[in-house]
């Protein structure tokens, strides 16, 4: 099964990297998020909730640009039925496509963050390296991954029914662009002690209370991810997907 997932991902990555816009997307995001935002925010880039909100927003948007193509693109290019006529299990097809979109989104986010940290260190050099705190990094990476999976799973559901990539992109954008603002807004309203913790400073709040707040946010996202992923896997029936073609 995992061999099949990797096979689908192999093909998806190959196809993705054959398109020039993918590289331009990577450059433009690294430029906007990594350079412009880092210069604008200064040292806050590595420790503010505003910066963290971009860790949520950026992968969500990046997943949307790729996931619309997952099934609608294959349908448009007349390759979907041939793919469904192979021995690949349905689960492997869905997970392979989702995995590629999530991987692509996380790669761009990581590149943009890396460039940002570099820019902050050059622009605001204090003689000591300016780094992201482990808590900030771990929490941010967790949120990026979970949001990417959430939007990706929902995108799969839309893409498998859409006739064209354009239709899938429009539907996904209309539904999810407004929704991605919600978790970003929540991050901006984090309790004071947690904001302090994000900046890498010690706080007086007991560790259990921090764990409850962080656990609740992460737990909600994990639950939503699992539910949407199960729905996507169950709704992906070859017979229905073929008849949509």
């Amino acid at each position: 099964m995992w061999h099949d997932v990797i096979t689908v991902m192999w093909k998806e990555w190959k196809e993705l990297l054959e398109q020039r816009w993918v590289f331009w997307g990577m450059f433009s995001q690294a430029g906007t998020f990594g350079v412009f935002l880092a210069i604008h925010q200064g040292i806050a880039f590595v420790n503010s909730p505003v910066s963290l909100s971009y860790w949520v927003w950026l992968p969500s948007i990046m997943v949307m640009t790729v996931i619309a193509d997952a099934f609608a693109g294959e349908r448009e290019r007349h390759t979907l039925e041939s793919l469904l006529a192979t021995r690949l299990p349905s689960t492997a097809i869905v997970l392979g496509k989702l995995g590629t979109a999530v991987g692509y989104a996380l790669a761009i986010t990581a590149t943009a963050v890396g460039v940002g940290v570099l820019v902050v260190n050059i622009q605001y050099s204090t003689g000591m390296p300016i780094l992201i705190s482990p808590f900030f990094g771990l929490f941010g990476a967790c949120l990026s991954l979970l949001m990417a999976i959430l939007v990706g799973s929902a995108g799969i559901l839309i893409s498998m029914r859409a006739t064209t990539v354009r239709q899938a992109q429009l539907t996904i954008a209309m539904i999810f662009v407004p929704l991605t603002i919600i978790p970003a807004s929540i991050l901006l309203e984090l309790p004071g002690p947690l904001r302090t913790l994000l900046s890498g400073q010690p706080v007086n709040l007991p560790i259990t209370e921090i764990a409850v707040i962080v656990g609740t946010i992460v737990g909600i996202l994990i639950t939503a991810d699992i539910v949407l992923l199960i729905i996507a896997l169950r709704r992906f029936r070859r017979s229905e997907v073929v008849l949509e073609s």
Binding site: T7, K14, E18, R77, T79, E81, R87, S239
Partner: protein, 316 residues
């Protein structure tokens, strides 16, 4: 592989029994019953919308039947669709990834069928060399001609040495040279291996050239089944073609009423009659000459597969 017959190789590669598929109250297949013996090229002929593609989809478990059942290589298409797809090579539309190179297209399929890296490399080289495209393996498929793509698609479906090959209108859009090359590939393949090939087509010359058994389907029902030669003899009837000028319309009108004349068609300077077996043609020629027609050539022949096909489809 799960098999419904205790692991024995079935005599029929495909067995379809009383199969119906209904989409939104439209009957795509209507009580279709059909057996395809193993090891032959079988042609499924029919006009657009006859049910050919739906039949393929049912066989591969991509569409569920409303009633009846289909067995492929001894496995039920509803309960063992995954195992069936494991044993099949399928060509649909031709379904290549045009952004990828020819080599990557084949590599993807060899990975799907879990070929080892060595096996995969050997088979890719062998198949691309066989179709004369090895030197162009790194090129994007989108830059290739339709004929080259179709040959690559055939090479791709053969990469895992399937037991059953399904080709949905494989020569559509190909020029005569590319189509002839593809025909030769298929004939070579059936001689080299013991695969079964199911081919759907509108091209009756192609079916006549390649298939040892054909089925004619229309409105989801099988209308005729048999070897092309036998169908021609049984259903093609006798044709009488006369080339000339000044065919008197009144005489032709009279002929239409004759019991031995099934149909009469005048196209330009060619008069074609479909006759019942045993109908004498000499008196017809005499009548024409006496009525003042100028005859250049006359010939009698047995109807070809196209005539069989048209008489079945038009006779509905």
């Amino acid at each position: 592989m799960m098999s419904d017959n205790g692991g024995q190789k079935p005599r029929n590669a495909i067995h379809i029994e009383d199969l119906s598929v209904v989409f939104h109250e439209r009957r795509a297949l209507d009580h279709l019953t059909l057996d395809v013996p193993a090891g032959i090229i079988f042609g499924l002929l029919g006009p657009n919308g006859a049910g050919k593609t739906t039949t393929i989809r049912v066989l591969l478990g991509l569409v569920h039947p409303s009633s009846g059942h289909a067995h492929v290589l001894g496995m039920d298409s509803l309960t063992h669709s995954q195992d069936i797809r494991q044993q099949c090579g399928v060509l649909l539309d031709p379904g290549l990834y045009e952004r990828l190179s020819a080599e990557d297209n084949l590599r993807f399929y060899s990975r799907i069928w879990h070929l080892s890296a060595r096996e995969s490399t050997e088979r890719i080289q062998e198949s691309l060399t066989h179709i004369g495209l090895w030197e162009r393996r790194k090129e994007r498929v989108s830059t290739w001609s339709r004929g080259m793509k179709q040959r690559l698609a055939i090479a791709r479906l053969l990469i895992h040495h399937p037991e059953l090959i399904i080709l949905d209108e494989p020569t559509t859009g190909l020029d005569p040279i590319a189509a002839a090359a593809l025909h030769q590939d298929l004939l070579d393949l059936i001689q080299r291996t013991r695969v079964t090939i199911l081919l759907t087509t509108h091209n009756l010359t192609e079916a006549e050239k390649l298939c040892s058994l054909v089925g004619i389907i229309n409105a989801g029902t099988l209308r005729a089944l048999g070897p092309p030669g036998e169908l021609r003899e049984r259903l093609g009837g006798m044709r009488f073609e006369i080339s000339g000028r000044n065919f008197p319309p009144e005489l032709l009108q009279q002929w239409r009423q004759l019991p031995g004349v099934l149909s009469l068609q005048l196209q330009g300077s060619v008069l074609t009659l479909a006759l019942r077996p045993g109908t004498a043609t000499a008196p017809l020629l005499t009548q024409l000459i006496q009525a003042g027609a100028e005859i250049q050539e006359a010939r009698r022949y047995t109807g070809n597969l196209e005539d069989v096909f048209l008489s079945i489809i038009e006779g509905q």
